[in-house]
Symmetry: D2
Subunit: 415 residues, 4 copies
């Protein structure tokens, strides 16, 4: 087991850890620890909301969640010798829930996935599922099950939702500029188009005084993916993966968290992954001047590992960029096409007795693949969802007799 360079006690808030983490992106958040190229080490992580969600049968905690404090990140890890223009190589050696512990804190043998209420940001299908829901998942090795989604057992592609390097001041400014411009196009929208910096709820790591204030005032919210990495929600950042991160500040300042036990491509119900606290073991190295050498400027590049679960049979649902509710046609809109593919899959699952909410949560949590089919055949983008059939305890393939509709209860609702 490698040395733990960032420790987390799961029973405490990230604010109360020996060295606190942070929940904004800003170049002035001081490194929590320094490591060297070639080092192997462990980071411990809180679940992304800092522990607001419980192992119970109500979705009230999802409905009432305070998102100003998210995502709670571990770090920053400073890397000696890293300079702007380098590539930071991160090998994910291992990761998982909180080791050797069973308990009430998320990651101690369990995780959850939630559908956010529309007023709280919603998810990918928020127009169809505007309320809050939740499912709790129990971990058994690399597999998990949920009492709220019976009949499903999946092998998780465990991964961090969010890792990234610190932005330079200029890069941060460019983010704030472009996101504020976007918000300005429809400032009162619910849910909003983007989230501007917000002093409320900020945790600036070990920064204090004016630095802490600046972090609250200008620090970028952690929700999206950006040029530093960030909230990729790419399920394939799993054990054995190697990621090449652009370095924008001296020391690189790598931070992350938002660990997922399993997630489908798109993380469609927003906290649709199975969220958990836990640990991640990594090895870091540098390619000096690598950004220019390899023209890796806008986003990280990565190589997936070789221990993802093998599923070989899929039921695949297709969607096109048409809104079938009013038969209106969007132009080459892959987002809409993927939304339709997901809706088609949910409609199918309902024929087997799953509720729409269960279907939605299955797509968010199971290792589904979200593929871009065609994006050039005007006017319709075409996307597809590959659903592995082996996660179900019954044969869900179409056959001449029709589906067997079984009562499977429901996920957690609000009271």
């Amino acid at each position: 087991m490698p040395e733990v360079v960032f420790t987390v006690e799961q029973a405490k808030s990230m604010r109360d850890q020996r060295v606190p983490g942070h929940n904004r992106w800003h170049p002035d958040i001081p490194p929590a620890v320094m490591v060297k190229p070639g080092d192997t080490f462990r980071i411990e992580c809180k679940e992304w909301t800092d522990g607001q969600i419980g192992n119970n049968d109500s979705a009230n905690d999802v409905r009432d969640v305070d998102l100003d404090v998210a995502h709670m990140l571990s770090g920053p890890i400073g890397v000696e010798g890293a300079e702007p223009g380098d590539l930071l190589i991160v090998d994910i050696l291992d990761l998982g829930p909180v080791p050797q512990e069973v308990g009430e804190h998320c990651g101690q043998g369990w995780g959850y996935s939630g559908i956010f209420a529309k007023v709280n940001g919603g998810g990918f299908l928020t127009d169809y599922f505007p309320d809050a829901y939740k499912a709790v998942w129990d971990f058994q090795g690399q597999q998990c099950t949920s009492r709220h989604v019976p009949g499903v057992r999946m092998t998780g592609i465990t991964h961090p939702g969010l890792f990234g390097t610190a932005p330079s001041p200029d890069l941060l400014a460019s983010w704030n500029q472009r996101e504020r411009a976007l918000i300005a196009t429809d400032p009162d929208r619910v849910p909003p188009l983007a989230l501007p910096p917000l002093a409320n709820g900020v945790l600036p790591g070990t920064a204090t005084g004016a630095a802490a204030e600046a972090i609250g005032r200008d620090g970028a919210r952690t929700v999206p993916a950006r040029e530093n990495g960030g909230n990729h929600d790419i399920k394939n950042f799993t054990r054995g993966s190697r990621i090449f991160y652009p370095v924008h500040v001296p020391g690189a300042l790598l931070s992350g968290g938002d660990l997922h036990f399993s997630q489908g491509d798109g993380e469609i119900n927003f906290c649709g992954a199975i969220e958990m606290g836990g640990f991640i073991d990594m090895h870091v190295d540098l390619i000096k001047g690598g950004m220019e050498k390899y023209a890796i400027r806008n986003n990280p590049v990565f190589m997936p590992g070789n221990v993802e679960p093998r599923y070989s049979e899929f039921l695949t649902f297709i969607g096109i960029s048409v809104d079938h509710r009013d038969n209106s046609n969007a132009y080459m809109d892959a987002t809409l096409a993927y939304r339709n593919a997901c809706l088609n899959a949910i409609d199918y699952l309902k024929q087997w007795g799953y509720t729409g909410e269960q279907g939605y949560l299955i797509l968010g949590t199971a290792p589904i693949e979200g593929r871009i089919g065609g994006v050039v055949d005007i006017p319709n983008a075409c996307c597809s969802v590959f659903l592995p059939t082996a996660i179900f305890d019954t044969d869900i393939r179409p056959n001449a007799e029709g589906p067997r509709r079984t009562d499977r209860g429901q996920v957690c609702v609000t009271s």
Copy 2:
């Protein structure tokens, strides 16, 4: 070898075949042949432009292509007993280029991929590559190489780009209504937002007289994917796949073509797949009333086969929904995110000596996977391109020394 129920002589136009095919979707195109549920049969196909592109070193034919005649489809195949509301099961038993022939016609041992000029519709990156280009690929078993893209050898996931059932009159009307409404939002756009029915170039199968005239007037263009299937350009419709098509008219009237030797997810350079004439062996069956039973209403569902090439190492490029040229931010736009992932991959390949056009054609033709990462983390959708490293004759992974830049010539250009 199963019975050939639709024959094509590659040296002749689709118009001059014993039984001609068609190039519009319309319920009144008469079946070319009737088959029974449970039947196994072969269909032969022309390349999608009806043979306008040659095995040469100039892109002039791509620039000057007449697209009014595309896509040239084989069929319709009527299925006895099929009624609206059924699901038509199609098993793809085998498919490939023109068997046992080497020659000058596309599919006789070779295929091509092209980048269309912007004035001709363009491709996914037409703002970056506005001119016409071409590469010719030689087939060797399931592998292919191109004299225009040296250093690449790929195992094709051979598939039909386009198959579908005939629309009902009502469904056809709804397509025309919504696509005309879309065009009306920006009628002079280049390239256009969608393509309305067009009498010029129409081939109505064996229809004549008033029926032929109606097909030219109202028949839907074959470019996009729609509720009948259509131009999915899903590379995983390969050998061993099973597809469940909605049936909208009596007899189902299945037609198709646009065979691809290999294609990357997205078919990003429009005729970016390696196009070819060839054959497809299939088995059909019915699930009576299957659309309602399984809630498969909007689009086909399919199960991919188990003989796709296994690639286990990928270099993966990420893109987000930001236009990096002017640092403007789009809201959850997976199309833009995927475009950026592709641009990032091309920039990387350029460091190894590939031209941008070669890189673009590699992404269009190689069995890359286009994945939707996150589509809920406002404001940035996050998509990724998985590029199999084994298709390159050199190790293209990042390393400390930097890329080896080799002169690799160029694809075909226009004169």
Copy 3:
């Protein structure tokens, strides 16, 4: 389609082809054709018995087969510039049954697998199945089914059972010496321990006179694998594979045949593979002096291709080197351990209604994996058979309720 350098008319015996093949290994069989390093070409092949087995419902032809004429090989192909000590690189670009033909000759849309009678050599389980049996398989693309083994559909790992280079005179002499020595240890055994040269039935290619006589007198039988390659029966020599053959004579003199549509590891029922006539497309090249450079002296080395069918769920049966009939223990005998693993699998399949003969033929033909577990834990070798569950039309995994025993008829028997 590459040039055909060795043609076969399936309706004729190998003896009556334009250029006849051969059925013994001998350095003096003249090349049927010469090719160059870098060439791509096609060879056509007869089924291994030269067409003695029919598409019917009786095993009499298997019982009465004349094996003196087997295996009928296509070739030799001479490779210009190849010299003893080189490695001959053979890329298998494609292979399959007789293309574009349906008919009565094996490979024209069908193949067979047989269990040989003990008096005729028997198979791996001949003490348990001493009589002759047969099953006929119909091909559909890369899949096949048999009216004699209902409930099974498999995707074939199509491959040549037998390819090899010609032995040098010294190498041939060493084979004859060691095999005669083995036979001498038990000369009257039924089945025999090995097969010595045999003039009866010999086909010496285009050799005549004294050369032909020598080939009959000294030519090695084609049954086993030896230092030249030979009858490997390795199912993974499939499309996309690259094989490095030792070269023992000038020109290498590559010959082969014994094509299999599908086969399980071990080819346990002797002609247990699904046998067929057909074609093989290959590309050849040389590594000069490669045998010494790479210490590849005793046997070929190969790299499997990447288009084998993906099966991800297996039921695995284990065997150890004990004869359970009399509870006697053999020392580290992997052959016996594998035999027990096969017997255990057959016993299991019988609980589902398959006859022992059907089970035996399933193991011989399906893409099962035969693995060596432990060969060091005295006294018991431990081997296992991985049976892909997806080839069965019912779920054959153990469950609490017990197996569903269904009448599935029987394979062909003798009359």
Copy 4:
């Protein structure tokens, strides 16, 4: 984390644990703990020699090892309600080295593989490598490397070498009968043909007095696989696997250990796997009367998990049942064929600068596949070794230039 029902302190001998384990198979070893069908629990294990081997650079400890005390097993675990004739379902939920610990005891961040001296039992190639050797491996997540085998990094298929249920008195007697009969055929052989019961070194669990004495006198040695499971050394018993064990005594009495971080098929250098102490999480259930229902009488059946590392490129070496030293021919001897395949692979690796001992240890530890090719083509069995190329830091495929021979040091030797 599931409840630990059998605990091990790595710093102590198995004899000194709170509840000691055992090192013989005997029905009278009392259960260390009882569990129920449906239970999930953890067992902790010592490395198989009870800690005789150190993390150092000498093979003296391998040479001097006391094997009378091996294998040290954890258990027995009694399962309530299990009766002879049932099948015990064991799901391997997770397993690995000693969690959260780095230290001097095997499994605390490291493991070893050894080649045993011939006088000490030897390994599969003991005639070629008669002396003792060792390599120490460091664990990093699911990957490992060794300072003694530079240039190799492998992803382990972590698994238990040895698990089994207790034999009934009759079954135990039949083992002793047949193994003594085998030994009697050559009683003075070095290494011996089998190992009879041995009072020296016995650890009888919690048994005392006459029971302990009987266990020493009659208890079966743990070396081979037998009808109860036992030392399978099947590398695919990994995370996610399900095993169906025959039950021979009331309570089933499941015991095991001999955990391997990684191992190649055959475990050819005897303790050729990467040995370690650690833990295993499992879930148990019963199929009442399952042995008869499913005809699972002689050996366990299992289903491999779906998280094994994916390797897609292999260099495959073939061997046949000929002793190339004196050109003598054995009849259908898969053990010899596999030995030759291994020797061929080692010869090949030597051309790249690995010593024979390094090559031997690579084959024993890396996730190589040992396949049975043909076992019916008289007189030569044909086996093959699939070596994944991705475990090497250089491209080891044959090419026209020849291998690059690099000095890679040597494994640990004796002093």
